[in-house]
Symmetry: none
Subunit: 228 residues, 4 copies
DNA sequence: GATGAATGAGTTTTCATTCAT
DNA sequence: GATGAATGAAAACTCATTCAT
């Protein structure tokens, strides 16, 4: 009964394909539930039973798709980082001028942090819980994301737009950390600023520190004229 | 030999004094051991038995000086923050010019972060583990420390040294977060910079963003001419 | 084979029913083991691990069916008291004359005490260990049981069979305590009497004290002519 | 310096005597404190540290006079029983008629139970906690006390005052248990009776069951005419 | 003789993981 | 493949007992 299909599939991958689809579906189910729980409690406060209940499946099923509780954490991390990898290029796409692209990128970065600020804080909280191996994967992805911003700065530098002696990578990291700061100090910042205002305020700091005075006004005009 | 002293001590509180000294000694012992362990693992991965072994005492003794495991975490936090409260004013003392004082303060801040960079990272990791009450104490101390830097910026603003429209508190938080960044991204930054160089590079970013062009050169001269 | 049944079960609650049956079976298992252990040691001397071993299950399983060690004690109490509530009415059922019914009831009471004399002694020992709430439940059941005997006495009193001025409730309590005495002083009484003899001896005491001389002989004839 | 005295003591027992006095004083201190604590909590809920605090001495001192926590419990039991052994004969002394002496004895028994009803309940609660050896001592003392009442009944029986076939020992035990009942069901009885009334009510029960009708009125007159 | 800080075995309870159904 | 009952190692914490002062 099983193993029908095959009509003209040269290498019958039906069962394997079904398996792959199911696996990815189950994993998404689990990761989604885990993310929801991890935003309010720590990884150790989330029991696998709680997780099963939240996901609407059984513990047994979780272990069919995860070999250990720690795996779930890694998938949550990768899922969060994946969002940056998807949404940043999307926001920066098609913008010629590197500084304008940087502005668009940073604004998008802040918006993602804001959309899931608990998730961003989670990353700082639980990264030590990851396995050696998992941590490396996460760090690699983070470097990749940072590089999206660094590339703009490097390009601008190549065009002679930046002040002599600025450290491209350091600036990129500064931007990333200042974006995360929105999540880390959310309790303080969110009642004084709006995300958009916050993003532009921080962009103003970095651009003033990096862009030559000659071209600076051109970019400052792009940033909201708001306070700060 | 016993029962000597008393020479002219108005209210001989020997036993109580001895007890106080022992308590503070034991607590330091425990906190030191806990800090050592927490630098390599999370709070949940550190069992009270491990801690006792590390401290070279028994579990029972730990509970004679702490009423719950969570207390230990709070003491570790307070111990770390205490260092800022002690060393920052020390470093900034006697400096007239507010921006120069800010420079001294930030450099000191980075140095403390560097001395105990695992401890600084720990603070981000475990703050959610603190009790409601403990978290409040810790936040209050952190605000107090940030305010030491904010005060300089505010004073400089009062002297008309800053660019119109800068947000004093945001800049102070930026400095604090950029100092913590040294700990958070230590794996990346420490192989490219020296702390001193790092501190000055970040100071250059913030000063350029905040100080009027007219007086900026005066302060930039104080920052190492190094790379960046 | 699976998914058969359903023949005409309106709301097939199979899983829930299975769960209920298992829960009650496990609880009985645990209570039985606990009762066995509590007969030889106190509640505090019985560790949950001991209990698990005695019950032939794991500690984890115990906590799946009990939310705290104290719950076990309450269930043991309720289990013991339940036996009185079941067996007393059974023994008294269908007997018209209230004094004859009282005799049957007391004899049954003593027999239950004898069957599980360690359990009866246990009740005196551990009632203070119960929670406020548990104690109330237990007391309510005990009052209910005592009332079964009190009702006979009250009825007899209504028929003018009792000596003027007897306190119905006190007599009922006397009977209960004298029955418990068989358990409490078992080490002494059991080597001098047989339960049946003991029960009749105590009945003779109470009846002589309560029943009018006129009708007393009628009832004394029902009591074993044995010694005493 | 030590070892003075001796003035004319043939066998210098000074130091030993001092030691004996101190030991007995310390033990009384400890037992008194333990009794106070045990009336409100169970033996396991009373920690040796609590006890030391209550007694106003140190844990070390307790272990200088007790070799284990369990010893304390035995001493508390013996102290309670000692009171019966002292006060019962005192109350019964000089009364010629055995039944009158029994009345006096039972009333005294109830009064002692009432004075320390928590202590009496304690005896039922904690007797299983005693060592094999301790339990034997306690039982022996209890038998001795019961015998004080039994002796009266036996004497009365010898004088032909009792109904044929009464079991002397059983009646004595009934009296003891009915006296204890005042402590065991104190929550119920104390709000319906006064101790004196209670004692006489129970005496009336036992005397009616044991004393020949001919002489009964004489004794009933001695019992309060109150209700019951 | 008195003290009380120190000890560590033992307690209750939780929870990641397994495996028979 | 899915389930969830069962497991038992490990955790936080207590407290009777010891012993240096």
């Amino acid at each position: 009964m099983a193993k029908q299909a095959d009509l003209n599939d040269p290498q019958d991958d039906g069962p394997a394909a079904i398996k792959a689809v199911r696996t990815s579906w189950r994993r998404r189910q689990i990761v989604a539930a885990a993310t929801r729980l991890l935003e309010t409690r720590g990884f150790h406060e989330m029991s696998v039973n709680d997780l099963a209940t939240e996901a609407g499946i059984s513990v047994g099923t979780i272990y069919q798709y995860m070999s250990a509780k720690e795996d779930i954490l890694l998938l949550v991390f990768l899922d969060i980082l994946e969002e940056y990898r998807r949404r940043l290029p999307e926001a920066m796409e098609g913008i010629e001028d590197p500084i304008e692209r940087l502005i668009a990128g940073f604004r998008a970065y802040c918006r993602i942090v804001d959309d899931r600020h608990s998730a961003a804080a989670l990353a700082y909280r639980e990264s030590k819980t990851l396995s050696e191996d998992g941590l490396e994967q996460v760090m690699a992805l983070e470097v990749e994301t940072t590089e999206l911003l660094a590339a703009c700065i490097r390009e601008a530098d190549g065009q002679g737009v930046l002040i002599d002696g600025v450290d491209v990578t350091l600036l990129a990291y500064d931007l990333v950390v200042l974006a995360h700061m929105w999540a880390l100090k959310h309790w303080y910042l969110a009642e004084r600023f709006d995300v958009e205002v916050y993003a532009d305020a921080q962009l103003r700091v970095i651009l003033r520190a990096a862009v030559r005075g000659r071209v600076l006004p051109r970019y400052e005009k792009l940033l909201g004229a708001s306070r700060v």
